[in-house]
């Protein structure tokens, strides 16, 4: 499903942010990507979203080379990928329902389908009762649930989560990870970039460790000494 083939990315002449990495992630996998700051994790996420172009190599998602996608085709490509960020990135002036519906409106989903899908997503993330609340009225964990619902409302095949528990306490962090695991159980490929080693070890998932732009380890049942 995701094939990263000898990809390098250099922002300026000098040390590359990514240096010839290759990776294969199967459909339905749950993968953690861990590493220190500057290891290249964020660059990798940006490359997967085609926010950046690789200096070398190619990325193939769902059998399609990202190098072959033209600027005008990027929106359609991105609809296959859900994204969640550490800072939630919710629209503060809109309530929970509107934040999730926004993701559907953006891709011109008919109103009927929006009215059907949004409550479904709210139930899935356990926030059906808070659909009228505004982001500032929610806890960090609840805000991240809204962000996850928004990322999944368009039924993407892949979910990218960039430090999804970074702003949460231990209890909420666990809840979010459990939710991501449930989503993965339903068939969505989940890729999580995180610093939370405790969770990574406990989840027993595939763990890819990066350092200075290269992959230093790739473990099927994560939690090794490398982490």
């Amino acid at each position: 499903m995701i094939v990263i083939d000898n990809v390098s990315k250099a922002y300026k002449a000098g040390i590359p942010a990514l240096n010839g990495i290759s990776l294969h992630i199967n459909t339905g996998e749950f993968v953690f990507i861990v590493g220190d700051s500057g290891s290249g994790k964020s660059t990798l996420i940006k490359l997967l979203l085609k926010e950046l172009e690789p200096t070398e190599g190619d990325i193939i998602i769902n059998g399609r080379s990202l190098n072959g996608i033209r600027h005008k085709q990027i929106p359609r490509f991105r609809r296959n990928i859900g994204v969640v960020f550490q800072d939630f990135r919710l629209l503060k002036d809109r309530n929970v329902y509107e934040n999730i519906a926004f993701a559907q409106r953006v891709i011109a989903t008919p109103s009927k389908k929006i009215k059907r899908r949004v409550p479904m997503m709210l139930s899935m993330v356990g926030l059906a009762a808070k659909y009228k609340s505004y982001p500032k009225q929610l806890s960090g964990g609840e805000q991240q649930r809204v962000a996850i619902a928004r990322a999944l409302v368009n039924e993407p095949k892949i979910l990218l989560a960039d430090e999804p528990t970074g702003n949460l306490d231990a209890h909420n962090a666990w809840d979010i990870m459990k939710l991501l695991d449930e989503i993965n159980q339903k068939g969505t490929t989940v890729l999580v970039v995180t610093h939370n080693l405790e969770i990574v070890k406990a989840m027993k998932k595939r763990v890819i460790t990066m350092r200075k732009g290269v992959i230093v380890s790739d473990e099927r049942m994560g939690g090794s000494n490398e982490i």
């Binding site: 929106p75 994204v83 990135r89 629209l91 409106r105 953006v106 011109a108």
Partner: protein, 309 residues
Amino acid sequence: MNGWVEAMRFSTFFYTFKQGVKNIWRNKVFSLASIATMSACIFLFGLFYAIVVNFQTIVREVESGVAVTVFFEDGTSKEAMEQIGAQIDKRTEVSRKVFVSAEEAWEEFGKVYFSGAENMMEGFEEDNPLAESAHYEIYMNDVASQSTLVTYLQSLEGVREVRSSDIAANTLTDFNRLIGYVSAGIILILLCVAVFLISNTVTTGITVRREEIAIMKLIGATDYFVRSPFIVEGILIGLIGSAIPLVLLYFMYRRLIVYVGDRFIWLSNMLRFLPVNQVFSTLVPVALLLGVGIGFLGSRLTIRKHLKV
């Protein structure tokens, strides 16, 4: 193309429109400033337009009274005069011509100079002092073409003299041109200011919504979807900014006609205003189009510069 099709979907169109309205509301101060400038601009445009069309009508009426007079050489036969008349008729500058015979010229002269003493004209029936004064009075479509016509008339065989008033023709033409240039200049400057202000408003909108735009892009919004609310914002500002002064001008113009008609009856012979409907049937669509065009242009230019999607 797909993005365009999506943008045209009714629900998306409605959503985009709503976001455009929200943008205006969010940047109330800038939006108001833009609408005010646009209103001032369109108000002046409408004002100049009303002045220019009315003035042009007055000029046209005055012009229709400005004539070139053609006198014939001594002994020119009636047939030769008719032949000259036929040649004059072929000229495109000529709107109409009037033939004045020597008898009619003497009669006219008498009316002016022997008024009250008509008996003094008796005895001249057989010896017309203005025997060589038969002439054509030629009226033009546009007095600006007078010099061309005069040169042509002077070249005609059988023509003794061509009389014209260069001052009248030139003054009217120059004044008409001056009003046109001054109004075009002022309107152009105001239009530039309006485009600049709309651009500023849209830039503020883009800055305020930067985070939302970033989210939209990550979710998979097309360029059209991201840009459309800002275009709608610009167009709406243009539309509101042109509708307000049009309403104002309409009532002001209507009142002015009534006021001048009531208070300055003595002016009514020389200053006849065009009916309000005649002026506004052209002004309304032109001003609205202008407003929408400026709004579109202002937002489009800004988006190209500040909104990289």
